[in-house]
């Protein structure tokens, strides 16, 4: 009896949690007159693609997708390539100044880079990088959290394996490539997922750095659409739905991996 009640609570909570998303999808396909009704109707007498055509006629949603994918994809790859050796050095090598530098790294982790938009604007301007995708990627790959997350995993790998490799004459680079990286693939994948989602959702700095409509990422694009039609909820929900669709598809395929990856990033101490 108690178990049944428990099950019902869980199911009800989950469904309530999904209502905003279901309502978005419902609105996206309703003809405008059926969107603005009191009481709101969950099932519309007819559904339509008018918002979809209206949207893609006016806005380069496809281009924004490509832009977002490029930015998130490159951020992820470069971030991993840069973070691995740095995390390895902090976790496994001994050198003077290491601990102090690591503490400085941790401090910059706490200063959210969204508040750096003013100085970043001038720095990017002097490199002539404003309005390029590189200007969005660079601050993301410079986040010390990527090194921190990997380092926390690297320190948990037992020292003995490394010692015996050293006796066999392995250099530190060989240890990294042949031992540490293969043993850390789940952690590296998790970091990749973390960075990808972070970059995919980045808003504040992109808003400043990207000014031409063609260069926009999805979040900035949606803001532009919203600015143009404040009350056309059919169109806005269609845009939101299209922005969600690929995420939904990827999530349905990689659900387990993504959730494991995301939980790992918060489980480290």
């Amino acid at each position: 009896m108690k178990n049944l009640l428990y099950r019902i609570i869980l199911i009800v909570v989950s469904i309530i949690w999904m209502i905003p998303i279901l309502w978005m999808i419902d609105t996206a396909f309703k003809p405008t007159p059926h969107i603005f009704t009191i009481p709101p109707k969950w099932i519309s007498p007819s559904y339509t693609l008018e918002h979809f055509y209206h949207l893609i006629e006016k806005w380069p949603m496809g281009q924004w997708f490509i832009n977002s994918t490029i930015i998130a994809g490159l951020s992820t790859i470069i971030s991993i390539i840069l973070a691995i050796p740095a995390a390895f050095s902090f976790a496994r090598l001994r050198w003077r100044g290491r601990d102090i530098l690591f503490i400085i790294f941790l401090i910059t982790m706490l200063a959210p880079w969204q508040v750096n938009i003013i100085p970043l604007y001038f720095i990017m301007n002097s490199f002539k990088l404003l309005n390029t995708h590189i200007s969005v990627i660079l601050p993301i790959i410079a986040m010390s959290i990527s090194v921190f997350l990997l380092r926390q995993f690297f320190v948990t790998i037992p020292k003995d394996i490394e010692e015996s490799a050293k006796i066999d004459g392995c250099s530190s680079f060989q240890i990294l490539i042949k031992i540490i990286i293969p043993m850390s693939l789940p952690a590296i994948a998790a970091l990749g997922i973390y960075i990808f989602i972070f970059a995919w959702n980045e808003y504040t700095w992109s808003l400043v750095a990207l000014q031409r409509t063609k260069m926009f990422t999805i979040p900035i694009g949606l803001k532009a659409i919203q600015g143009a039609y404040d009350i056309d909820y059919g169109l806005l929900m269609m845009a939101a739905f299209l922005a969600t669709l690929p995420v939904l598809v990827v999530f349905l395929i990689l659900r387990k991996r993504i959730m494991e990856g995301m939980s790992w990033s918060g489980t480290i101490r």
Binding site: P20, P40, P85, W95, I117, M143, P219, K223, A240, T267
Partner: protein, 294 residues
């Protein structure tokens, strides 16, 4: 010839270098440079004038800054408490539920909103809270007779945005807490049950202390997102009505890119950074977890 020690130092630094250079230019330097800019009446075209703490004095003597600081605290407070409370409740709810299809589905449903981008969640919630045709507005007014005009209300604008943000992010925290709970040895819970401990005691006296490191990490990250929230505010209310939801990040953005007063904007940024440091240090002290990072 290098001594062995120097060679080791060199190797260590060499591995850091690729990341270190990027970090130095695009992470560490902006924070310092931001502080430098904040000391000037910054104008790259006409030449900048050194002001000392003039920009800070301007901010501290203007209501609009204090208003934005207060709104930020209000937003962050509601958002952090809601997010972590929801996440903890969900995590415990799932933890005590036997592993099954139902549980996997619930976990996925609760997590999914996290994958939506900030503009999507802001648009959805703006529509849900629409004063005339919003779903939530309708249901509340049919229960209570009359619903507040959430996003057009001086009182409700900030809590409404905080609620939307908590809906967005608490699923991710849930997953983190749940994973942490799963690593707690089952025997610990079982033996407590045999000793007659109730669910409440097990949750707070046994499980919660064991997931405190994850709780702290989540608290820090949630605090950062609470204090830097911008997208959802811009889209849902654009700071309104009046300045009732103009949080510090939005005020900073406006100072810099609408009024082009970069010095004052940088000063606002530096204030935000200092607040983050103080809060994090205090948080670590209170929770007694200062040593956990190592």
């Amino acid at each position: 010839m290098f001594s062995k020690r120097m060679k080791e130092d060199l190797v260590g630094i060499l591995y850091i270098l690729p990341f270190g250079i990027i970090w130095l230019i695009f992470s560490a330097w902006p924070t310092i440079y931001g502080f430098v800019i904040s000391l000037y009446d910054w104008n790259p075209l006409k030449g900048s004038k050194f002001l000392g703490f003039g920009n800070y004095i301007y901010l501290f003597t203007h209501n609009r800054f204090w208003n934005s600081l207060f709104r930020t605290l209000e937003f962050a407070g509601i958002f952090i408490i809601l997010t972590l409370l929801l996440a903890l409740s969900f995590a415990f709810l799932l933890y005590f539920f036997p592993k099954s299809k139902t549980r996997t589905f619930s976990e996925s449903f609760l997590f999914f909103p996290y994958l939506l981008n900030v503009s999507v969640i802001a648009l959805i919630w703006k529509w849900l809270l629409d004063p005339d045709f919003g779903l939530i507005t309708y249901y509340i007014s049919s229960i209570l007779g009359k619903a507040p005009r959430f996003l057009n209300s001086i009182f409700w604008a900030v809590p409404a945005i905080a609620l939307a943000s908590a809906w967005w992010l608490s699923g991710y925290r849930t997953t983190i807490f749940l994973t942490a709970l799963e690593t707690v040895p089952k025997e610990l819970v079982e033996s407590a049950k045999i000793d007659g401990a109730g669910t409440w005691i097990i949750m707070w006296k046994i499980l919660f202390p064991l997931i405190r490191p994850q709780f702290l990490f989540s608290l820090v990250l949630t605090t950062i997102s609470g204090f830097t929230a911008l997208g959802q505010v811009m889209i849902m209310t654009d700071g309104g009505p009046g300045n009732a939801s103009e949080v510090l990040a939005l005020y900073l953005y406006r100072l810099g890119f609408q009024y082009f007063d970069m010095g004052k904007a940088a000063a606002a940024g530096s204030v935000l950074v200092v607040i983050m440091f103080v809060l994090t240090l205090v948080g670590m002290k209170i929770l007694g977890l200062g040593g956990e990072i190592e």
